[in-house]
């Protein structure tokens, strides 16, 4: 599904190489986790894949179901089925959450040549999905993420994911800023979307999120590269011994 080969990325504004040859393949139906210390390039990877400005790919490729992601605009990547749950969801004053969701859903449908969702149908679906994430009517009415707590913002990300039904979901430190209850709620939302046709890439510092979202494969990223790949036990190893051991071993 997602195929990243030898990806090298530098910052556009300064001569700083951040990703130094990332190789990663996420198969449909699988959950891959990327762990790693601060500054290892995890978030950069998620931004580059989703099409954020400010990065320059100097080498390598990234494909989603054979389509060249790096050739596409951010909105085209989304329509192609890529979704990034932001580490810091953006507040947009003046744009109602519901309007935002409906605009996004219909823009993607339009891009894929599908019929737009009617207002009533949309309302029905969004209410249903919001309920399972404990998102109340008020949160749907308020401007996007404005005045939301950390947990509410992350739940709102998962709601967007549920509404957009992407093929490939990237979760960038979705556990940051969450208390235990919120983490459980968010994880349940993610798990409900696990499906044979959908791939996940879960970026996190800590093993605790992976207690709730059980990964099939765990990668350790350091210094712009994936230095170790293993099963769920690798996450436990990090939790118990920290990164130093693994990194020492890898170098």
């Amino acid at each position: 599904m997602l195929e990243i080969k030898n990806l090298h990325v530098k910052l556009e504004e300064e001569d700083k190489q951040i990703l130094k040859g990332v190789n990663l393949t996420v198969e449909a139906g699988k959950v891959h986790a990327i762990m790693g210390p601060n500054g290892s390039g995890k978030s950069t990877l998620s931004y580059v894949l989703s099409g954020r400005d400010g990065y320059e790919v100097t080498e390598g490729s990234a494909h989603l179901d054979g389509e060249d992601l790096l050739e596409m605009e951010a909105e085209e990547r989304a329509a192609a089925g890529l979704f990034l749950a932001f580490q810091y969801p953006v507040e947009i004053p003046g744009v109602g959450n519901m309007t935002f969701l409906r605009t996004a859903v219909n823009a993607q449908r339009k891009a894929r040549g599908q019929e737009e969702m009617s207002a009533t149908e949309f309302l029905k679906v969004v209410r249903e999905k919001a309920k399972t994430l404990k998102i109340d009517a008020d949160m749907l009415k308020r401007p996007v993420n404005v005045g939301f707590s950390g947990g509410e913002k992350k739940r709102n990300e998962i709601l967007q994911m549920a509404m957009l039904e992407p093929k490939m979901c990237i979760l960038d430190e979705t556990d940051s800023g969450l208390d235990v209850d919120a983490m459980k709620l968010v994880s349940e939302g993610v798990n409900a979307l696990r499906d044979a046709g959908r791939g996940f890439l879960v970026i996190t510092h800590y093993q605790r999120l992976l207690d709730h979202i059980k990964p099939d494969v765990v990668h350790i990223m350091a210094n712009g590269r994936i230095v170790k790949t293993g099963g769920p036990e690798l996450a436990l190893e990090v939790e118990n011994n920290g990164y130093a051991d693994i990194l020492g071993e890898a170098v």
Binding site: A74, E75, F86, P89, V90, G94, T99, F100, A104, A107
Partner: protein, 365 residues
């Protein structure tokens, strides 16, 4: 003479489909044939000319009075010119709440027309009325509206101006507010090479409220000026100024807003915000917010900002599949929302929002 081409497109004029009383002016001249019958409205409403010829004392007393009063401390020469030479307008007295908005429609048919319009409106104690204005009016328009809002009365004003891009307009509102009265005015401006909207309000009775707001969209040759002067001369009054301008391709926006709190005008609550969204490096926003306060128990706040579109928000929207142009429009509308939300009536607010999004769609770069 600077001609202004009459703008043709198939866009429906604003406020269409709304239950309203229509009064039509063509190049600054009242068109009875195109208007609703004044006699059947049940309202005291006359053409300016007719009213001045009759012994309508209140109108004679009011005409030019608020304008003259508004000449100090800042001279407003175009308004003085207007009072001296006005050719047409309406005289309206409201004595009870009026449900149907009174809609002044200004058509522009002659590319070289000049128009001087002067309206006089008196809202009596406990009465209320909504006045709508739309249309380019003339190649050059000079307009004055004098509004006397008596104790406990309410005046609502929603205006859509612009349309014919070459047209030039200088408009003035002079208002006097009595005890517990309410005044709300919102102006949307899209297009128009030159627009200056002045609003001079005096809060003379305690517990009165005055809100003035504007949303302007300017592209290219566009100079838009909002000049507001609000005087608090009574206790416990509230005033709000909310002005937002979106500018690009060298457009210029101006805001000069003043709150004057006179001695004794205690418990004044004054708020003023003027903001511009500059969509490129060529556009300008010039702001002169002013507070002048002579009472010691007041709350006045003001803010003025100029900024570009929020790149973070833009990326967030795009990452959800919203195309660049749509995402930008959405953020522009969000920026204008605080001003548009000043319109109380939901239906009117929807009319204005539709106009704004329609303009954005037609003006995509």
């Amino acid at each position: 003479m600077v001609p202004a081409a009459v703008f043709q497109n198939d866009e429906e004029p604003p406020f269409e489909g709304l239950n309203r009383l229509k009064l039509v002016f063509v190049d600054g001249v009242f068109d009875a044939g195109a208007s609703d019958d004044l006699a059947e409205t049940g309202l005291e409403i006359e053409r300016l000319e007719t009213a001045m010829a009759q012994d309508i004392h209140w109108a004679k007393d009011l005409y030019g009075a608020l304008e003259t009063n508004g000449q100090t401390p800042v001279a407003r020469p175009l308004a003085a010119l207007n009072s001296a030479y006005a050719s047409d307008g309406i005289v309206l007295r409201v004595t009870a709440p009026v449900a149907r908005p009174i809609s002044l429609i200004y058509r522009h048919e002659n590319p070289t027309s000049d128009a001087i319009l002067h309206h006089v409106i008196k809202v009596e104690t406990g009465a209320s009325v909504t006045v709508l204005e739309n249309g380019p009016a003339a190649a050059r328009l000079n307009k004055v509206m004098e509004v006397d809002v008596a104790d406990g009365a309410a005046f609502h004003h929603v205006r859509a101006q612009g349309r014919d891009h070459q047209r030039r307009a200088a408009t003035h509102i002079f208002a006097r507010l009595g005890t517990e009265s309410r005044f709300k005015s919102f102006t949307m401006t899209v297009n128009g090479v030159l627009t200056r909207n002045e609003c001079v309000i005096e809060l003379l009775g305690d517990d009165a409220q005055a809100h003035v707001a504007g949303a302007a969209l300017g592209d290219g040759e566009f100079h838009h000026d909002d000049t507001v002067f609000i005087t608090h001369d009574a206790v416990n009054c509230e005033s709000r100024q909310v002005f937002k301008k979106v500018l690009r391709n060298g457009a210029t926006g101006v805001f000069q807003g003043k709150i004057l709190v006179k001695p004794g005008a205690q418990k004044t609550d004054g708020y003023q915000i003027s903001q511009s969204l500059l969509l490129d490096d060529d556009s300008n926003f010039l702001a002169k917010p002013e507070l002048e306060i002579y009472a010691d128990d007041v709350a006045c706040s003001h803010g003025s900002t100029s900024g570009a579109i929020d790149e973070e928000a833009l990326f967030y929207l795009r990452s959800r599949g919203v195309p660049m142009a749509d995402a930008q429009d959405l953020l522009v509308l969000a920026f204008l929302a605080e001003a548009v939300d000043e319109i109380e009536d939901e239906e009117l607010r929807a009319h204005v929002s539709t106009r704004l999004s329609g303009w954005l769609e037609r003006h995509r770069s």
